[in-house]
Symmetry: C2
Subunit: 254 residues, 2 copies
DNA sequence: GGAAACTCCGTATCATGTAAAGTGTTTTAT
DNA sequence: ATAAAACACTTTACATGATACGGAGTTTCC
C-alpha cells in the first residue's frame, strides 16, 4: 500500500543489482553516468526535500539527463529506493570489540541509528520488513546478531528482544522527526502552537477536563524548553527498554 | 513533508470544525449530504485501500457528488483527514474504574490501540505530534493522563514515561502492519520469501557470515509458524516496556 | 557491411488536489 | 413582488507524478 515502500518488483533481480552484479552492456554507447552517481543524486535530493518530493524528473534534472534515461540505470523508482537504502546504511558504524556486553552494544547501535536518521530522515518512510538485503544491510544484521547473541535467551526470545528494541527505535525516531518537521513547516514552536490552540480548546472543553489537561501540558512544556529535549527523550526511552530486557533476563534466570 | 499528515492549514478553523461548530449556511440550496456522511465514506475507503489511495475523486464518487462539491463540506483534504482521525478514535474504549493500577491501565490502552490499528491501519500514516484536538482525541488524552498520574514520578518523568510507551506502540503497530501488507501484496509468506532470497544471498555472502545469518533466521522462522505470532510479539514488547518503567520507578524510589 | 544491442529522448497516458469561473437555487432585504 | 446576496454544485483547466512506447543515433560483433 505504501507508495514509498521498498520491496516491490522481482526480489531476485533487486538482489543482484544490490550486490553490484550487472554486466555493463558491451554494445552501444557508453553510459554517461554510473548508477552510483544516480543513487547519490537521489540521496541528496531525498535528504533535502524528503522522499515524497523525490521524483524521477528531479533526479534526472540533477544528474543532467532526461527523465526516461534514468530507466537505463535503474529499472524503476522502487529499485532506486532499494539502492538508496543500502547506500546510506553504509554511513553507520558497527560496535567494535571495545564495546562489551549486549546492553552497550545495543545502545551503541541505537544511537548510530539515531544519527543516521537525522542525516537521512526519509529512511523512515521505507518499509524494512523484508528489506533489500544488500551488503550494508547484511552487515547491520550481523552486528545485531552478535549483539544479542549473549543475552542468555532462547532463539525465539532473542528475536523477540531484538524486535522490541527495533520497534521502540523506529517509533521514537519517527516521533522525533514529526516534531522537527512540525516546527519547520509551521514556523511555530510547540509552545507557540499550544498558545494558539489553547483558547479555542477552552471554549469547548468542560472546565474540569480543561484543568486536568492543563496540568499535563504544563509538565510537557517544561521539557520543551530544554535544548536537547528530543535526544533526551530518545535516550530515556532507550534506557527504559533496555531495563525491561534486563528485567526479563533476570526474571527468566530464576 | 509527509503528504498524509494531518496538521496542515489554519489550526483554529480546523478546531472549530472538529467540535462541530459550523453554521450550516442559511441561504441557498440545502446540502445534499452531511459532513458526517462524507467522513464516513472517506473512512470506509481508507479502511479498504489505505490512505494513499484515498482521493477526493473517489470519496466524491462514493457519496454521489462531483469531486469539487466535496469542498463545500470540507475545506481541503487535510481537514478531511483531521475529521476522519477524530471520528475513528471514537471507536475505542477507555479503561474504566475496574482497571486498577497504572500498569493495567496502560496495557489496556495499548491493546485498544492495537485493535484500532487493525480496523484502521491508515491511522499510522497520519502525523500525531500536534494532533487535531477533537473531542475524541481529548478523551484519549485525559484517559492517558489519569493512567500515568499515579506512577509516583515527577511531571517531566511522567511525560517521558508516556512517551516511551507511545513510541514503542506506534513502532510495533507499524511493523505489524508492514508484515501484514508484505504478505498480502506479494502473496508470499515470510517463509516463502526467505526461500526465494536465500539462494541468491548465499552466492554473495561469505560462508561464515552466511552460517551466522542462517542461525538468526532459524529462530525467527520458528516463531513465524505460530498463528498469533504478531499479537504475541506486540504483547511481549509491551510487557518489556512496562517492566522497564516499573524498574525505573523502583530505582527512583531508593 | 550489416545487424544486433545499447543509450537517450519526446510524446502520451492516467491519476492527483484544487483554483477559477459558471449555473442554478434559496433566502433575505427592499 | 422583485432584486440581490449567499450558497450548492458542476465543468474545465493546470501542474506534477511514474512509466509505456517508439524512434533516433551510437557502438560492437560477426
Amino acid at each position: 500500500m505504501n507508495p514509498d515502500s521498498t520491496d516491490v518488483g522481482d526480489p531476485q533481480r533487486s538482489l543482484e543489482r544490490l550486490w553490484g552484479r550487472q554486466e555493463p552492456g558491451r554494445r552501444g554507447p557508453k553510459q554517461r553516468l554510473s548508477t552510483a552517481e544516480v543513487v547519490d543524486a537521489a540521496v541528496a535530493l531525498a535528504d533535502a526535500e524528503g522522499v515524497q518530493a523525490l521524483s524521477m524528473r528531479k533526479v534526472a534534472e540533477a544528474v543532467g539527463v532526461s527523465p526516461m534515461s534514468l530507466y537505463t540505470y535503474v529499472p524503476s523508482k522502487a529499485e532506486l529506493l532499494d539502492l538508496m537504502f543500502d547506500r546510506v546504511l553504509g554511513d553507520t558504524a558497527d560496535p567494535d570489540e571495545s564495546v562489551i556486553g549486549w546492553r552497550a552494544k545495543l545502545a551503541f547501535m541505537a544511537r548510530e541509528r539515531w544519527t543516521l536518521s537525522e542525516r537521512h530522515p526519509w529512511l523512515l518512510d521505507l518499509a524494512t520488513h523484508r528489506p533489500p538485503l544488500g551488503p550494508n544491510m547484511m552487515r547491520k544484521a550481523l552486528a545485531m546478531l552478535t549483539a544479542v547473541a549473549n543475552m542468555g535467551l532462547s532463539p525465539e526470545e532473542t528475536g523477540l528482544a531484538a524486535d522490541v528494541l527495533q520497534d521502540y527505535i523506529t517509533g521514537a525516531l519517527r516521533s522525533a522527526r514529526e516534531a522537527r518537521e512540525a516546527e519547520q513547516m509551521s514556523g511555530l514552536s510547540d509552545e507557540q502552537w499550544f498558545s494558539i490552540v489553547w483558547p479555542v480548546l477552552e471554549k469547548h472543553l468542560d472546565p474540569k477536563s480543561f484543568r486536568t489537561v492543563s496540568q499535563l501540558s504544563e509538565g510537557r512544556r517544561e521539557r520543551t524548553r530544554s535544548p536537547n529535549e528530543r535526544t533526551a527523550r530518545f535516550e530515556f526511552g532507550l534506557q527504559r527498554v533496555l531495563d525491561g530486557l534486563e528485567a526479563f533476563i533476570s526474571k527468566r534466570a530464576t
